[in-house]
Symmetry: C2
Subunit: 337 residues, 2 copies
DNA sequence: TTGATGTGTGGGAGCGCTCTTACAACGTTG
DNA sequence: CAACGTTGTAAGAGCGCTCCCACACATCAA
């Protein structure tokens, strides 16, 4: 039980060979007499040997772990109540496990926490960072860059910097929503945007407004939300008092869209008969909502996996130019619009 | 940027002292001349030194990380769509970060993956394991125990073993639900249980049935669900055909309860006027549901934090008798019952 | 004075591993 | 038959750190 773990040395002694030979068998196995290999394997079996990862890391300078950093301005422990982060985590974990790499979860919601993250990486506790940073003013990306930590972002950085990222064409997503609502014959269309200090929100909104303008609706009543259900409900209330005769709403994420639907129903309005609602993300609330949400799909899991893929590639052969991948949104038509 | 990181040796040279002294300053700082301390601190500043965690771990035999293992039978990457795991993660992360410990996330949904988890821990890549294992037949707890890995479970193990855990009094939760429905004057009460091969489900159901029997309802129509929305909807349909005149349903989690509410509404039944619904967990769907769910609260975040606390305590002074903590459920009355 | 005790510092071993180097044994070639 | 690869193995340095031990020096009781 609490006996000390056998080392390479122990295995070597049992097998009657040198440490080096055992190491070769354990790893690449290049140029080792097959017979000896067998002997060594038996010795490993017999001693119950397991290589010590830490010792290996010390010399290889690789830990086999990456940091998955959630750098929300919002922060706090309630980030995980947003289905978004669960999806990111799922995508990352799912990809990494096939590559023998493990994610360590970190929250960077304060300056102190951010420093800790940078230190953690600089100390070599992880080989690189997967950064989910929503706020464009977040100093973390540039700090990681400075520290020379291999990193990939989810969402393009606030200002241009040589760092890879995955992102989605949020503008195209906004356009998709506008096109769908207009094509459905709606003409009193309002929108609940995401927080305007988030690039994704800006883009979704810009895309939506552009398309609306092109369709002949230069002005779109807009209320800014905060990506939460509460903010969505509040926004819907305001929209209802400001434009009582609206017949369609585009909400910048599903959480807000669902809340908006609830508010509309409470007001005795039918969805989609009286008011059509389009959400964004295609996450769990879109399906749980009654009626189910017509929404713009963001392939979060695939994007997260891609992000991990980019990081591993950078780790594999460092010094390449940072690569980025942009995903296309997709309209998912359900019942709400 | 890609210059090699400074080591203790470098700092020592700059400060004109020995490696050992610098180490003392960096760590416990016991018995070092204040003046020298200052010199060393300056040297650290000047060199931009950061201790190498891996090297430290090699000698201390501590990594400062723990594994957070989700050992679902269900498994797959969709575990994170269940709000439960997000809450566990939030609770764990929130507690650990205050202690300089970082969780590495692992999924153990196959035998292969389980072996990998055990190896990972045996290799000393993490100091201990936080195991969220729902299936009582899960071999992981005993395998970790055998391997001598400090571990704490979420939920009591399938068969008794010397391992700490946190859990909730699920029977009491079931009773709370029954009491509430009976007190509300319902007398055609059915239930959608969780998967019966999960102890928590068994207990919730047993508690519910016991209380019902004590209230004079020895027979309770029951359909087994799978803790997912789909299974909840299917179960509600069956219940509706088997007992068309039911006036209350207790669902073993909120996800199923929400789905049940949807099905009831689709059938033209009013909630709670015609049918009262009680859920379990008090997670996000309980609030998103219309009407909002009356439910039994499981303090997942607190339980997860407690689990982490128990593990750290075990790591701190090993060899103590494993401790466990049981939490009490709480009835949360909202609109659905 | 002498020993006992305590404090601050340096030297050096050693954690378990990988990887370079050296070397032995064996062909193969001109 | 000397010169030269080729292949398989051992030896040993070294990754960056902690911690034990030795030692110099100061302090204090006997």
């Amino acid at each position: 039980m609490s006996r000390v773990a056998p080392t390479l040395e122990d295995v070597a002694r049992v097998a009657g060979v040198s440490r080096a030979t055992v190491s070769r068998v354990v790893n690449g196995t290049r140029n080792v007499d097959p017979e000896l290999q067998e002997t060594v394997r038996n010795a490993i079996e017999q001693t119950g040997y397991t290589p010590n990862r830490v010792a290996r890391s010390l010399v290889t300078r690789r830990t086999g772990t990456v940091a998955l950093v959630i750098s929300g301005a919002g922060g706090g422990s309630d980030v995980f109540s947003d289905p978004f982060f669960g999806r990111v985590t799922a995508g990352v974990v799912d990809f990494l496990r096939g590559h023998g790499v493990h994610p360590v979860l970190m929250l960077a919601d304060s300056d102190h926490a951010r420093t800790e993250v940078v230190e953690f990486l600089r100390q070599g506790s992880a080989d690189g960072a997967l950064l989910v940073s929503t706020h464009p003013a977040d100093p973390l990306p540039s700090r990681l860059l400075e520290a020379g930590v291999p990193s990939v972002l989810y969402a393009r950085p606030g200002r241009p910097m040589p760092i890879g990222y995955v992102d989605m064409d949020h503008r195209a997503g906004g356009r998709l929503a506008a096109d769908h609502l207009v094509a459905a014959g709606r003409y009193n269309i309002a929108t609940i945007s995401g927080p305007m200090d988030v690039l994704a929100s800006q883009d979704r909104h810009a895309g939506f407004r552009d398309a609306m303008a092109r369709h002949g609706f230069p002005y779109v009543p807009t209320v800014e939300g905060g990506f939460t259900a509460e903010s969505g409900a509040a926004a819907m209330h305001r929209l209802l008092t400001e434009c009582p005769d609206l017949d369609a709403v585009f909400a910048a994420n599903d959480l807000m869209a669902q809340a908006a639907v609830d508010v509309l129903l409470e007001h005795g309005l039918r969805v989609p008969e009286d008011v059509a609602v389009v959400g964004f993300d295609d996450s769990a609330p879109a399906l749980a909502c009654r009626p189910q949400l017509t929404t713009i799909r963001q392939p979060v899991e695939r994007m997260a996996a891609q992000m991990a893929d980019l990081l591993l590639a950078d780790l594999e052969k460092p010094g390449q130019r940072p690569k980025s991948v942009i995903f296309e949104p997709e309209l998912v038509v359900r019942a709400s619009a």
